[in-house]
């Protein structure tokens, strides 16, 4: 949980920006998620992002790619190979050698992109930050993993871009959807809440996470489910198939990080195929949209709607395809085609799973 005064100071700077939207000469002050104050003389025209999820967030907050001047190579491959690569084909020309996948900045390449602002992780230590500020570049730090942190850095980046109204719009959507869901989920009796297991890795070894600070656990709870792996300590911990048999989850969610991972992984496994989830055909791979749907991103409300409809189709009846079209129009100014949606939702692979037919094109 962030200190309240961070929110307050951010709110003030956002409000100030609101009045000064046209007077671009006024400096912008943001307080980042390491409690550092960063001042920009004018809205940033060029932002370089070292954390992986941030690149697509910057695109969403700006509504285009023109202000993203550098990103993590892993973020780039995700963008180029995914739907964002189709929406913004020019993204393939954005430099990605400003860092290796390990987030250590390559200062000379970074400086060569002439960024007005560099985004870096807040939680990886000063060694990954100091070289950037020592090179005379503005750097703002972000922290990841919870809904609050996500909304905070959305606001921070949109403010830096001089478009705080974008964050207000996108965060407002999150707020509305989350509140609506919480209100509906509150009436679901405890014995009707399915045990949901999210496998963060499943190809070579199996990993699951506990409840503490885990985003997947958070939204499983939000949509009226129970995290099957809540007794694990920590995040992304390796577990045995035997442990999964012991939990016997009602629903299994596969990550969207492992490209080669499909629902066959569960049905071909001698142990996992005997779980309740497999027997009732409730195995789903997380969709892959503008960013992966498993961790927090600008598309998170779509993740929640997707899972809510799968767990409780009678309680939540979101028109997911319609919501996706609206969201992509807002976030990326793009009209999703039915084929795009089928691809994002892996309709080919899992269209026949339980409750998945509701996502078919009408």
């Amino acid at each position: 949980m962030l200190p309240r005064r961070l929110y307050t100071s951010l709110a003030i700077s956002v409000a100030a920006m609101g009045f000064a939207a046209t007077a671009s000469a006024d400096p912008i002050t943001i307080v980042d998620q390491a409690d550092r104050t960063v001042t920009l003389q004018k809205p940033a025209d060029r932002i370089a992002s070292i954390p992986i999820p941030m690149a697509s967030t910057i695109i969403a907050m700006d509504g285009g790619t023109s202000k993203l001047v550098g990103m993590n190579p892993t973020a780039k491959s995700a963008i180029v190979e995914g739907v964002l690569g189709r929406i913004f084909p020019e993204a393939k020309d954005i430099p990605s050698d400003i860092t290796a996948p390990n987030f250590i900045p390559n200062i000379e390449e970074l400086a060569a992109t002439h960024p007005d602002l560099v985004i870096q992780w807040a939680d990886y230590g000063a060694d990954l930050v100091d070289p950037i500020s020592n090179a005379g570049l503005n750097v703002a730090l972000i922290s990841y993993g919870t809904e609050e942190k996500t909304r905070y850095y959305h606001n921070m980046v949109a403010t830096a871009l001089g478009k705080p109204e974008r964050a207000a719009l996108i965060n407002g959507w999150r707020d509305t959807v989350a509140n609506e869901m919480a209100a509906k989920a509150k009436d679901i009796p405890a014995d009707k809440k399915p045990k949901v297991l999210y496998l963060g890795r499943a190809l070579e070894n199996l990993t699951a996470s506990g409840n503490k600070g885990n985003y997947n656990a958070w939204y499983i709870d939000l949509v009226g489910g129970v995290n099957a792996s809540s007794d694990v300590q920590g995040n992304g911990t390796t577990i045995s198939p035997e442990q999964i048999a012991e939990w016997n989850p009602d629903v299994i969610l596969l990550n969207s990080f492992e490209a080669k991972l499909g629902i066959d992984r569960i049905y071909n496994d001698p142990i996992l195929s005997l779980t309740k989830a497999a027997k009732e055909h409730k195995v789903y791979k997380m969709p892959l949209g503008g960013y992966r749907w498993d961790p927090p991103s600008q598309e998170s409300p779509l993740t929640w709607m997707w899972l809510a409809n799968l767990l409780h189709p009678d309680v939540f009846a979101y028109d997911l395809r319609g919501e996706m079209k609206k969201a992509y129009k807002t976030l990326y100014n793009y009209d999703l085609t039915d084929a795009d949606i089928d691809g994002i939702l892996w309709m080919d692979m899992q269209g026949a799973e339980t409750a998945y037919a509701q996502f078919k094109a009408k």
């Binding site: 992986i52 892993t74 290796a100 996948p101 390990n102 987030f103 890795r201 190809l203 070579e204 070894n205 199996l206 990993t207 792996s229 007794d231 694990v232 300590q233 920590g234 992304g236 911990t237 390796t238 577990i239 045995s240 198939p241 035997e242 442990q243 048999a245 012991e246 990080f257 492992e258 490209a259 080669k260 001698p270 142990i271 005997l274």
Partner: protein, 350 residues
């Protein structure tokens, strides 16, 4: 051991030795049975016995019930794989310590583990698992050994010191290559798998994987067992060994090849499980003495029981799988420290 022992004393020693081996075999069997019974999914002891008997009566059929599958398809191959790997790693260490006449060496000194680790990490980097991972780690383990052989061979002869130094060089080279793989790996996808795999685990054990591990490990174990007399001779000075009709160079390389086969296979199926080859032979020496004819089988039995036990801890203590390398080091390092102190105290006294 005295060579002028009278007959009654000699038979007394062998009776004692049979007793010690009997105890070790009983210990191994008990450990394996305990390990099959222990796990996160609760299955009662009578039920386990029933499942094992049924499984033995109907080999090759896949049962329908979860508890049957857990015992027959998860625990049994895992216990057997852990036992086999433990035996292979311990025997590899014992043989290597004999060849180098140095109680402080282990399979890592030949660079095989690092080579195999690079192969496996590379496979994971490109998103491969299973057979490709196995094949690449085994091949690169072998490549490391061949590289050591080529580097250490000077004027047609190989000195022990050059083998150790070449092993260090090759090991360092492959360790650097592993670092490069970690450096370029995607922190979202392949990196966690690589890091976890490098720490060692039997969590991916299956019958198929056991089947892949058996030929290499069994061949290596058998080769070292055949060479158990030669190991006693290799432990002598080279000139002495030559005067007894042994070609120390050739014999040594056969031992090295056997060890690389065992170590490479073990890394391929379970990642790097350290310390077994260093610690277990010492415990075996305390029980049966220096003679390799007894030391090799004793190391195999103790290594098998030890690694089975450690793996049981790794998979049952918490819902999370504890990496094996962590446990073997936590237990192995202090034990080895004590052994080291004792070794030098005795050496000083002598």
């Amino acid at each position: 051991m005295s060579t002028v022992a009278t007959e009654p004393v000699r038979s007394g020693i062998s009776a004692l030795r049979i007793g010690v081996f009997g105890l070790m075999i009983a210990g191994l069997v008990a450990t394996m049975l305990f390990s099959i019974g222990a796990g996160r999914f609760s299955v009662s002891v009578p039920r386990i016995a029933e499942i094992l008997v049924n499984g033995a009566l109907n080999p090759g059929t896949i049962p329908d019930e979860m508890d049957e599958r857990i015992v027959l398809l998860v625990r049994l191959p895992r216990v057997l794989l852990a036992a086999l790997s433990g035996a292979a790693l311990a025997v590899g260490g014992a043989a290597l310590q004999g060849v180098f006449r140095n109680p402080l060496v282990s399979p890592q000194v030949l660079g095989i583990s690092q080579g195999a680790a690079f192969g496996g990490a590379l496979a994971l980097l490109f998103g491969y698992s299973g057979i490709v991972l196995l094949g690449m780690s085994f091949l690169l383990g072998l490549a490391a050994l061949i590289l050591v052989g080529a580097l250490a061979r000077i004027n047609g002869r190989t000195e022990i010191i050059t083998v150790i130094l070449s092993g260090m060089v090759v090991g360092a080279l492959f360790a650097a290559l592993v670092s490069i793989v970690q450096f370029v790996a995607d922190p979202n996808t392949s990196l966690p798998a690589i890091v976890y795999w490098l720490m060692g685990s039997f969590s991916t054990a299956t019958w198929a994987r056991l089947g892949l591990a058996v030929p290499g490990m069994a061949l290596g174990l058998f080769a070292v067992w055949l060479l158990r007399y030669r190991l006693n001779l290799l432990a002598l000075e080279d000139s002495e060994a030559r005067s007894l009709g042994v070609n120390p160079d050739r014999e040594r390389w056969i031992v090295f090849a056997a060890i690389s086969l065992m170590t490479g296979t073990s890394v391929a199926v379970a990642g790097i499980v350290g310390w077994i080859g260093l610690v277990v032979p010492h415990a075996a020496r305390i029980l049966v003495g220096e003679d390799h004819r007894a030391l090799i089988p004793a190391s195999a039995l103790l290594g098998a029981a030890y690694l089975t036990f450690i793996d049981t801890l790794a998979r049952t203590l918490t819902a999370a799988e504890i990496p094996l390398g962590v446990l073997t080091a936590l237990i192995g390092a202090p034990v080895f420290g004590l052994l080291l102190r004792r070794h030098f105290r005795e050496a000083n006294r002598a």
